[in-house]
Amino acid sequence: MIDLQFDRVCKKYNLPRAANSPKRWYARAFAKGSAEMWALRDVSFQVREGEALGIVGHNGAGKTTILKILSSITAPTLGEVTVRGRLAALVEVSSGFHPELTGRENVYLHGAMLGMRRSEIRRQMDSIIEFSGVDKYVDVPVKRYSSGMYVRLGFSIAAHLDPDILLLDEVLAVGDAAFQAKCLERIAQLRKNGRTIVFISHDLAAVYRLCDRALLLDQGRVLMDGPARRIIDEYQEMSFGGEGATSSDESGCDTPAVCTSVSFSSPHPPDAVRTGYPMLARVGYRAAKTLANVVFRVSIYWPSGYLCTQLSNDSAVGGLLLEPGIGIIEFECPVLPIVPGLYRIDLAIEVSGQEINTLQRCATLRVEPGRVVSGDFYIENTWKIVTNPSLLAVESSRG
């Protein structure tokens, strides 16, 4: 069954031209119409029952507009959208709160806005309060709440909905780690039990975890529609893949040493760098004079911009001794633990702890699927079944 269907949907926004101009209606009446902005152009897609669809794309690609149309906040300019089932949107979950009302009153208000009946809310009130963890403050006006409490209470109400279709928009970017884990667990429960999910996020790792399929949007058009893994790769490629390795000239010729190239290869299998297999990283350099205590760093960044890991010849005894001229430093990794994806690379050379050459985001590393990995990285391991009776006795006595 198809739960959601977008059929050639276009959405136009009229942007008022020079909104702050002092001109009034009598002047405006003769001016040409306002500027048009097409947020969606001819967007068509379907989501099947029980499917989790991720939508990725740059800011302004039309992601939020899709969500707004789905949740009836705004209407399409052209085209038609069909929604089968009760839909709940978790878009800034606490925006419906009234600051003067207490937490409990806001639960009634917000729950009703999400389409819950008062009797339903009354029945679930205790559970909602408990889940949110704001039980001590539930009869205090929410204007006295911290922003974290706000969001937790908001999400807690939404978590008690049992919609057919769930829309998620960056909701997980808030709350502390423990609360985020609870939210993810709830979403996973809903997903496991066959609810349809549409998820919009810049957190590509979260899209990958949650979704089986994804749409790549660019300037209001659907660029690609396919398995989440492939779409995310494509999106990353689009975002920064084309930059390639560039050398920085900011250092000038008086820099004693510069990185000139970087390459990643795999001795086995030779076609691509794969998770769980060996990898060779080679950094080419040029040194102008003899340098002592030199450290090379190859930083590998997640798509999100966080440092994933780093290769370095740093050690307690100090760095390398570099002769003038060109050369290559080779890092050999027997087992590559990082998960498949497209990573960005920074290169740096340090002499006696002083960075003398840095190349930021100068290359990419594509890691292809290799050994099966779930989670954040691969752990090299072997396994066997242990049948030592004395060990079993210890296990069972532990209770």
Binding site: Y13, N14, E49, G50, I69, S71, S72, I73, T74, A75, P76, T77, L78, G79, E80, V81, T82, V83, R84, G85, R86, L87, A89, V91, E92, S95, G96, H98, E100, L101, E105, Y108, L109, A112, M113, L114, G115, M116, R117, R118, S127, E130, F131, A159, H160, D162, D164, A181, K182, E185, R186, Q189, N193, G194, R195, N388, S390, L391, V394, R398
Partner: protein, 313 residues
Amino acid sequence: MDALPEKEQAPNVDAGPLATSIDLGLPLPTAESERNHARPIKVIRPPTFSISTIFDGVRTLAQYSDLLYTLSLFRLNVRYKQSILGWTWAALQPLALMGIYTVIFTRITSISTRGTPYPIFVFSALLPWIFFSSSISSAVNGLILHPSLLTKMYFPREIIPLSYLAAGFADFCIASLILGGLMVHYKVSLSWNLLYAIPIIAILGGFAAAVALFFSAVQVRFRDVGLAMPLLLQVWMFTIPVVYSLESVPLRFRRLYLLDPIAGLIEDFRSVVIHGAVPGAASLVFPGVITFVSFTLAYAFFKSSEATMADII
């Protein structure tokens, strides 16, 4: 060889008892295959102005009736929170106006009320008028006071202006107690005809809803409405028989004068309360029809502009 078994019998790392998965304290969602409910099918299309949207609108509104109730309740609650006099404010406004008009129209100048004491004469008209005017003036600003609601969440938008109307009605009920007190004080004889006040107020409320829906939809686009509203309502009050009686209007203007449905309704309300008079059939039917037609048009207009409110607010 001795060391090995000892090491195995006393493992260094003990993870402790195995924890179960995160307990959310929530009932697990039922599996989709076991859920046996008819799924509503909703088709979202570009907005159009048509009377048929009203039926959809009313159906959705019925689904959200609890929201209308909750919001109206909290509207009252919030209005009087952090105020010392609280609910008394609902009665203070008509009382104060009654005092001022009584001074003006009995001490400074005088106005014919056919022997009715002026305080109850003016209060019995102020009461429905304040219900009408303050509901409209607060309802019209309702939507633009909640931009984040409009851009972040969906619910039938008419619930916001209607909740102000409901809160206005609650104020009306509180102030009615004062009217009751005045009736006792001036020894107005009670009769069953007082029940005619109910259809009068119902029509008045319906017309207020029509005005509020229309102007709040326009207000989202043109803020001029909110700025013009106080002036409009002030002028409006003097074009209907609140501080004077309908009889003081010259007969040749009477027909034109009564084209405003509110004028007839206010006068009817007063004569029901003070004289226990039965309103003429025509004086209820005409405003009733006007209200029905204008409400239908205003609601259809509201529904057609609802879909783009979030874009332009």
